[in-house]
């Protein structure tokens, strides 16, 4: 059977990056004492590191299995791991502490990306959601080897972060800054060269969820300079998504009010999109929007 990466196996793999915390925990007096006590009582030698792994990774594993939430345990683990560095860390431990911190932080990043992607593709559900998540994550992590390579180079130069003289070599900073500058230029250059054609047709795109008839008839009730009120009449009342594309031959209003006999929604112009000779004005509901355009808090 070919090996197939699943979402759960991915999450389990990420949990391996909690090992540095287990190692740090194994250095504490409590775990040393516990390890000694177990050996004295049961006669089985249990290394503190093993105990650290059991006490750190197993509870996290159970938590992730039960809740599916990967981010919170990692945030807690990072906080616990970085806490000793604030109070000062033994110089002799630096060559393990620094790579450990990088490993744990990398694990946190992957956990963060998994959480984001899960949120984005989650509504699909099933195998397809898993497939989408894995192929997206693969693309996201493409530049990671470059970062790891640079980190490894710096770690090697600084004797794993222990040699203070070589820890932050300025020689590295210049190419990095140059690279950053190129990236920013490329990013902000986009859209500058787009040739803007005059719009011939305009459309209002109204997008919301409200209680309206399952099949309704749309009519203009009121039209002012800044707002338009549409009525949605007829049909069986039901909470439903609405996506309407309306051709508009006038200046696009700032506010659109949708009124059904059971609900009223106020939508604000949020975006203007150009597609060739057509312009689309996107209207979305907003919590800031007043329930009536007559209210003084209405955006001007």
């Amino acid at each position: 059977m070919p090996f197939r990466v699943s979402k759960n196996s991915l999450k389990l793999a990420v949990l391996v990056s909690l090992l540095p915390l287990a190692w740090l925990a194994s250095l504490t007096d409590i775990l040393r004492f516990l390890s000694g006590a177990i050996e004295a009582r049961l006669g089985i030698p249990v290394p503190p590191l093993l105990l650290g792994i059991v006490l750190v990774i197993v509870p996290v594993l159970i938590y992730v299995y039960m809740t599916g939430d990967l981010l919170k345990p990692f945030l807690l683990a990072l906080a616990l791991y970085l806490l000793p560095s604030i109070f000062g860390i033994d110089f002799n431990l630096l060559d393990r502490y620094v790579p450990g911190a990088i490993g744990l932080f990398t694990g946190f990043l992957v956990a963060l990306f998994i959480t984001w992607l899960e949120r984005d593709v989650g509504f699909v559900g099933g195998d397809e959601s898993e497939r989408l998540l894995i192929s997206s994550l693969r693309e996201v992590l493409v530049p990671m080897p470059l970062g790891i390579m640079l980190t490894a180079l710096l770690l090697w130069r600084s004797s794993l972060g222990k040699n203070p003289r070589n820890v932050l070599p300025l020689a590295f900073l210049l190419p990095l800054l140059l690279f950053a500058a190129v990236v920013l230029v490329i990013h902000f250059k986009e859209g500058q060269n787009d040739h803007v054609q005059p719009a011939k047709k305009s459309y209002l795109i109204l997008r919301t969820v409200m209680k309206a008839g399952d099949s309704f008839i749309l009519d203009v009730l009121e039209r002012t300079e800044r707002s338009v009120t549409f009525t949605l009449s007829g049909g069986f009342p039901v909470e439903r998504p609405i996506l309407l594309k309306l051709e508009w031959d006038d200046k696009a209003p700032e506010v659109v009010v949708l009124m059904s006999p059971w609900d009223t929604q106020t939508l604000l112009k949020t975006e203007e999109l150009r597609k060739g000779e057509e312009t689309y004005f996107l209207y979305l509901p907003t919590s800031r929007a007043p329930s009536s355009p007559g209210i003084p808090s209405a955006p001007r």
């Binding site: 970085l82 560095s85 604030i86 000062g88 630096l94 502490y97 620094v98 911190a101 990088i102 932080f105 990043l109 963060l112 990306f113 992607l117 984005d120 593709v121 509504f123 989408l132 192929s135 997206s136 693309e139 996201v140 992590l141 530049p143 990671m144 970062g147 980190t151 710096l154 770690l155 600084s158 794993l160 972060g161 203070p164 820890v167 932050l168 990095l176 690279f179 950053a180 990236v183 490329i186 990013h187 459309y203 795109i205 099949s215 008839i217 007829g234 049909g235 069986f236 009342p237 039901v238 439903r240 998504p241 609405i242 996506l243 309407l244 594309k245 006999p261 975006e271 999109l273 996107l282």
Partner: protein
């Protein structure tokens, strides 16, 4: 917090922490998020969309399915592409109409997917234009949005319950003395009805020679039979009928039954009219099955209307119907509308001097069986005060055909 801010924070935090704690090596942890951030900034979210959507059929009977096919092409960028349309709640979606695709860098994404729709109830339903939203994989940059095509309307015809000719004949046979009313042919009047194909037994003088010469087949003029009874159907479409769910509630049952009744009565060669109380729609009495399309059009997007149009007012507004022999009111009798119904019955008798039959739709079994039983007892008590024959109908128990048989029995009796 926006994702871009989170990623920037993740890039700068290790560096700051290194300076703050003095463990300078911690700053190296910035390099990994920095590399991801740089890569994300260099790549664009997917753009250059082309969408093509085809809908197999735009006229469907309730419950029948039609396939919707969508072709998507994305030319540039890399990231996630969300595509979908919004289907009005009266349409059931089989399969998925909202999808996500992964657009890889350097490749043109060409995908095709399909799903099926089936109307769950009568009406004019819609499928919105296709909406496409794209974002980079991490969702840190600006999203691209596009909307394609126009709204597609699907006209859903209700399923019409009908009785076989033998059932109609048996009802007619049981009610001797009323053959003219339910007979397919009465004595011809001078009111022209239609031109139809010649059938054996048609008199020679009925042949339309001009039409026959033009079309090459023998055609005859048909005239409205005299002495045809007129039946007016009043269907309640006010908010009082909003009981039950969107697909099988009181309103849907009442309208489905109204159409089935109209269809059967037209087939039985009666003059039939329809008034939708609440929706203020009136189809004046007419004959012939060809007239049925007018009734369908009236019913398609009716109610439940918030317009308070009590039944007595509906009767008042249907005065144009002319001579009416029988009025059938289809409603849900409640303590709140019983006095209005009494007034409406009084109005009908006063205006048309006709007989009245009431069909009481009981939608409560969908809520609870006990509720239905209790409401049934209550409704019988209320119906007793109306002084007209009342046909009880529990749509979740009996199909429209059973209800039709009960009503037609009542029609024959009433006429």
């Amino acid at each position: 917090m926006r994702r871009m801010d989170v990623l920037l924070f993740a890039t700068l935090a290790p560096f700051s922490l290194a300076l703050f704690t003095g463990v300078l090596g911690l700053a190296y942890a910035s390099l990994i998020p920095a590399s991801i951030l740089a890569y994300s900034l260099m790549s664009d979210p997917p753009s250059g969309f082309h969408v093509e959507r085809t809908v197999e059929a735009r006229n469907l009977a309730v419950g029948r399915r039609a396939r919707v096919r969508v072709k998507l092409t994305v030319e540039r960028g890399a990231g996630l592409v969300f595509i979908g349309d919004v289907v009005s709640p009266g349409l059931k979606v089989h399969g998925r109409n909202r999808r996500i695709f992964v657009k890889l860098p350097g490749e043109v994404l060409r995908v095709e997917y399909s799903y099926e729709i089936s109307p769950g109830k009568r009406g004019v339903h819609s499928i919105s234009p296709v909406e496409v939203i794209s974002q980079d994989f991490l969702g840190i940059l600006r999203k691209n949005y596009g909307i394609f095509g126009d709204e597609v309307t699907i006209e859903a015809r209700p399923v019409i319950g009908s009785l076989r000719a033998s059932s109609l004949r048996s009802i007619r046979a049981k009610r001797r003395g009323l053959p003219v009313v339910l007979s397919r042919k009465g004595i011809s009047s001078k009111d022209f009805k239609e031109i139809r194909e010649y059938q054996p037994g048609d008199p020679l003088k009925a042949i339309n020679w001009k039409a026959t010469a033009r079309f090459g087949v023998p055609l005859v003029n048909e005239y409205e039979p005299e002495g045809m009874a007129t039946v007016m159907v009043y269907a309640d479409t006010t908010t009082d009928m909003g009981t039950g769910d969107v697909f099988n509630g009181a309103l849907e049952s009442a309208l489905g039954l109204s159409l089935s009744l109209v269809h059967t009565l037209l087939k039985a060669n009666l003059r039939v009219g329809l008034y939708l109380a609440g929706s203020e729609r009136f189809v004046t009495p007419r004959t012939g099955t060809q007239a049925f399309s007018s009734f369908i059009r009236a019913v398609l997007s009716a109610g439940p209307s918030p317009n308070p149009e009590p039944m007595p007012l509906a009767v008042e507004r249907s005065k144009r119907a002319g001579k009416v022999d029988l009025a059938i009111i289809i409603t849900n009798i409640t303590p709140y509308n019983v006095s209005e119904l009494r007034d409406a019955i009084g109005n009908l008798r006063k205006t048309f001097n006709c007989r009245v039959l009431l069909v009481d739709v009981n939608p409560y079994e969908a809520i609870d069986k006990d509720v239905m039983q209790l409401s049934r007892l209550h409704k019988r008590k209320l119906a007793g005060k109306l002084g007209v024959p009342v046909v009880e109908w529990v749509p979740s128990r009996e199909g429209p055909s059973t209800a039709l048989k009960k009503i037609l029995g009542g029609v024959s009796l009433a006429l």
